[in-house]
Structures are given as structure tokens and as C-alpha cells.
């Protein structure tokens, strides 16, 4: 009775008539396996996104540059998002962004995104740092950790599937749990004057 997720997915032999059912079942298997996988060690560590993610406005000089949106590796992994939350508090992100409501740093739970809400844009904001005081974390945190924090930040504004978002934490009830806030539609915002 092998419990390995990947074999379970491949093990479903699609009977001729039940192929559709098997297909649906295997997608459920893959999705569910991914959502609950505890990925302690990434070998090789999850790749940092390439290309220039810093496209702030729709107006672009010269030929249109298509920004390839990188799929964040942890957007639907509940455990990684909870690791991201503990890192968010350990690395004192809450010092400036508070619990997502913003203060010294901009708020993270609304749908205003100065530097974009796509995974690789948030990854870049954390790794490279941003003007007005956002430090660069790429020398301090590993790529896997930054991806975890990226997924947690996206969960603050309900941009990742509900199943991966965290429930309440064993703390004062500062804000409603990420899992119980409705999904949001992000929109671009301009840099602060």
C-alpha cells in the first residue's frame, strides 16, 4: 500500500468508459497531494524567477515586452504558507507592515499594489528590496523561504486558493483569518508621492 502521492496518481488505470472519471480523480489526487505536501527540502532549491518583473505601468517604450508570470511554487501548499507566516513574524516584517494592515510599510491585505501583486513581483520586492525602506532579504533568507513569505503575503489579500490560506493563529484576534476573507481582485497602484 504505497503512500507515495506521485505513484497513487499514476496508479489509476483509466478504464475505457471510466477515463473521464479517472482523469478527474487524478487531477483531484495531484491537487490534493500538492496542497498537503510538507516539502521540507527543495533540491535544487526552488528557482528564483528570471526576467525583469518590474513593469509598473501599462505604457512601455519600444516593442511590447511580455512579462511571463511565474507560477509561485507554494501558492497552494498550506504548510508552506504557514511557514511563511511564522517567518513573516520571526523576521519582523510585522514591525513595518504590522499584520498586513500597513503602518510604516504599505498595507499588504488591500488590493492596492505599488510594485504589482504577481508572484515574481512580490518575490522581487522581498528579495531585492524597494525604495523608502524595504530591505533586501536575498542575502538573509533562502529562495525557498522567500517564496514561502511571498505566498503568505499573497494569502493576506486572498490571492491564493482558499484551501491553502491559514486559519486563525493562537494569538489575540488581530484580524479575521486569511481563510475566511473573500477572494479579492488586485489592481495596480502608483508609487507614493
Amino acid at each position: 500500500m504505497s503512500l507515495r502521492c506521485r505513484n497513487a496518481g499514476l496508479g489509476i488505470r483509466a478504464a475505457r468508459s471510466g477515463r473521464l472519471v479517472a482523469l478527474a480523480a487524478s487531477t483531484v489526487l495531484i491537487v490534493a497531494c500538492e496542497r498537503e505536501a510538507r516539502r521540507f527540502q527543495e533540491s535544487p532549491p526552488t528557482a528564483a524567477p528570471t526576467g525583469d518583473p518590474l513593469v509598473v505601468s501599462d505604457l512601455q517604450p519600444g516593442p511590447t515586452v511580455v512579462v511571463s508570470n511565474v507560477e509561485a511554487p507554494y501558492d497552494d501548499n498550506a504548510w508552506a504558507v504557514s511557514e511563511g507566516k511564522s517567518l513573516y513574524n520571526a523576521m519582523n516584517c510585522s514591525g513595518c507592515h504590522f499584520q498586513g494592515g500597513g503602518g510604516i510599510g504599505p498595507p499588504l491585505m488591500d488590493d492596492e499594489w505599488i510594485y504589482g501583486s504577481e508572484p515574481q513581483q512580490i518575490f522581487a520586492s522581498i528579495a531585492e528590496g524597494r525604495p523608502n525602506g524595504m530591505p533586501a532579504w536575498k542575502f538573509i533568507l533562502s529562495t525557498q523561504q522567500i517564496w514561502e513569505i511571498t505566498s503568505y503575503v499573497r494569502s493576506l489579500s486572498s490571492l491564493i486558493p482558499k484551501g491553502a490560506r491559514g486559519a486563525r493563529d493562537d494569538h489575540m484576534m488581530r484580524k479575521p483569518a486569511e481563510a475566511s476573507t473573500p477572494n479579492a481582485r488586485p489592481k495596480k497602484s502608483t508609487a507614493p508621492q
Binding site: R38, F40, Q41, P45, A90, F139, I140, S142, Q145
Partner: protein, 336 residues
């Protein structure tokens, strides 16, 4: 036959001694518990032998072979029933008596254990997910010593361990010294005991607390009184300034890389309490909460890839060039 006997003896002997063994008492409290255990074991064994004999004798002596035709159920003469009623009542009375004796004995030992010693050295133990943080309390805040994964205590002097948890329920248990007490978030509980035999014992978390519950151990070192005071004074000194250039560059690596964002070293600009305090890392016996012996090779392996040793631990893997790693290890070796 002899070899099996010798093997059994070895196992049994091994079962009664060791640095993490409840049957090898090293404190007054545990001595009384162990004596009670042996007493209860002897009584229980006798009862079990008596019960086993009681049902084996009729099963063997009066058994009917299965081939015999099942004759109709017979009526038991009243005299036998009366005799058996007397025997069963006596056996029940005996059971009640033995249970009461156990109860009184337990209350006696329990009262002695729960007695609050007058003045006791207070050590606060904070449970994290999968390591221990130790604070040696002192009225003068500057003298408070913060250590990790090792508990030092003086022999012969009562010690109070205050137990606090930062995340889930853990359980502090030093088999040789004292029974376990849970660390429950929202509660501060404490236990008292007096070690009476110097030595190094091993404690392990006894309440399931997540992925690495199995590797959350704590070395417990009982020093003679004067040796303990000397050790505590040495712990109060901040980290020594590295002398040679390799160690100094190692310190620079420590401060610039991720290390100082989680670990603190007194006397250096690293104050984060997310991870264990490393001020006197080199003088510790084990690494990663009792998982690895503290050698240079193990330290290097643990820094670069902790997940293969303790999968799920909160320490990330660090991609350091070998030059930085060598310098960092040299610096960490100086933190006596």
C-alpha cells in the same frame, strides 16, 4: 541455553542503568519512585502468578478431551457453590486490601514529592518546536544567563524548574531525576527536585509536538555545587573577541549572512531570539537539541543542510562558499 541466559541478563542489566533511565535514580524524588515501582512490580507479579496458576490448574487437571460427547450441563452441588462464594469473597477482599495499600503508599510518596523546598535555584525552561531555551534566573537582570538545549544544575541543592511553552504542548522529563511535567501554552507550571549524584543525564520531550518530536532532547548536567557556580560565572561572560584573522572573518560572515537574524550571541550585534542562543556554543555537548555530538564536522553539516538531519526543523539550509563556511566554523569554535 547458557548463551540465552547470559543474553537475557545483559538485556535486563542494561535495562536498569543508563543516562536516560527511570530505573537508575540520581535524585531523592526518583529514588522513592523507583523503590515504589519495584515494590508494586513484585506484588503485581505475585498476583499475576497466582491468577495464572488459578486458571491453568483446572484447565490442565480437569480438562475433557474434545472428542468426548458434550454431556448435558450439570448442576453444581450447593456445598461447592458456598465454598466458592467464600473463596471469591476472600479474593475480592484481598484485592481491595492490596489496592488500598498501593493507594496509601502512593499518597505517601506523592506528598513527599510535592513538598515545596524552601529556597530553590530557579531555572526557567521554555519549550519551542523542537528545541529548549534555558534561563538561569537571577534577581539582577544583567546576571541572567540564557542558554539552549542544555540544563546545568548543582548537586545537593533543591532546584525549581519553571516550565513555559511558546507554541505547542511539550513535556519535560529527565528519567533519572524527576517525573515528567507538561509545558502547556497559557500555563506556567513548575517542578522541584534535588539531584544527589553528579553526572550527565539526557532528557527528551515526552508529549507529541510535531514533526521533530523525536529529536527534541536536552542534556542535563549535574555539577557538584562549587563546580556549578564556576560554570555559571563562565556563562555570564560575553563571547570572547576572536583573536586570529580567520575567526574574525568568520564573525563577519556570521553577522552578514542569515545567522544573526535568528541567533543571538551576547557581546556581538546579534540579538534575535528566534533561534537558540549561541554565546557558548562550543562548550555544549550536543547540537540540534541532542541530535548530533558537537564536533566541527557535524556543525558544518548541520549549518549547510539541517533538513537532511532533522527534516522539518525551522533552520534553513545555507548555501555558503567553502571559504566562508571554514571561517564561520573557526569563529563558532571560539565561542567557548
Amino acid at each position: 541455553m547458557m548463551r540465552a541466559g547470559r543474553l537475557a541478563l545483559v538485556i535486563l542489566l542494561g535495562a536498569c542503568s543508563g543516562q536516560q533511565n527511570a530505573l537508575d535514580p540520581a535524585s531523592a524524588q526518583n529514588r522513592s519512585i523507583t523503590v515504589m515501582f519495584w515494590a508494586m512490580l513484585v506484588v503485581a507479579s505475585l498476583i499475576w502468578l497466582a491468577v495464572t496458576a488459578a486458571f491453568l490448574v483446572p484447565a490442565v487437571r480437569q480438562r475433557r478431551t474434545t472428542r468426548e460427547e458434550a454431556e448435558p450441563a450439570f448442576e453444581v452441588p450447593a456445598e461447592t457453590s458456598r465454598r466458592q462464594t467464600r473463596i471469591v469473597s476472600a479474593a475480592t477482599a484481598g484485592t481491595v486490601l492490596i489496592l488500598l495499600l498501593f493507594l496509601i503508599y502512593d499518597f505517601g510518596v506523592g506528598r513527599a514529592l510535592a513538598a515545596h523546598p524552601g529556597r530553590a535555584l530557579t531555572i526557567e525552561l521554555v519549550g519551542h518546536q523542537w528545541w529548549w531555551e534555558v534561563h538561569y534566573a537571577d534577581p539582577d537582570p544583567s546576571k541572567i544567563v540564557i542558554d539552549a538545549n542544555e540544563l546545568h544544575l548543582p548537586v545537593g541543592q533543591p532546584v525549581q524548574i519553571k516550565l513555559v511553552s511558546r507554541d505547542v504542548i511539550h513535556s519535560f522529563w529527565v528519567p533519572n531525576l524527576i517525573g515528567k511535567r507538561d509545558l502547556i501554552p497559557g500555563y506556567t507550571s513548575s517542578i522541584f527536585f534535588t539531584a544527589d549524584r553528579p553526572g550527565v543525564y539526557r532528557a527528551q520531550c515526552a508529549e507529541f509536538c510535531g514533526h521533530e518530536h523525536a529529536k527534541m532532547a536536552l542534556a542535563v548536567v549535574a555539577h557538584p555545587a562549587n563546580e556549578f557556580v564556576a560554570w555559571l560565572d563562565r556563562q555570564r561572560t560575553p563571547a570572547a573577541e576572536p583573536s586570529d584573522s580567520l575567526a574574525t572573518s568568520g564573525k563577519h560572515v556570521f553577522l552578514s549572512a542569515a545567522c544573526s537574524k535568528c541567533h543571538a550571541i551576547t557581546g556581538v550585534e546579534a540579538y534575535s531570539t528566534v533561534g537558540p542562543n549561541l554565546t557558548h556554543l562550543a562548550s555544549r555537548r550536543t547540537l540540534a537539541a541532542g541530535t548530533l555530538p558537537n564536533t566541527r564536522g557535524n556543525l558544518g553539516g548541520w549549518i549547510v543542510d539541517p533538513q537532511s538531519i532533522k527534516p522539518g526543523a525551522r533552520m534553513p539550509s545555507n548555501q555558503l562558499e567553502s571559504r566562508d563556511l571554514v571561517a564561520l566554523l573557526a569563529y563558532l569554535q571560539t565561542l567557548k
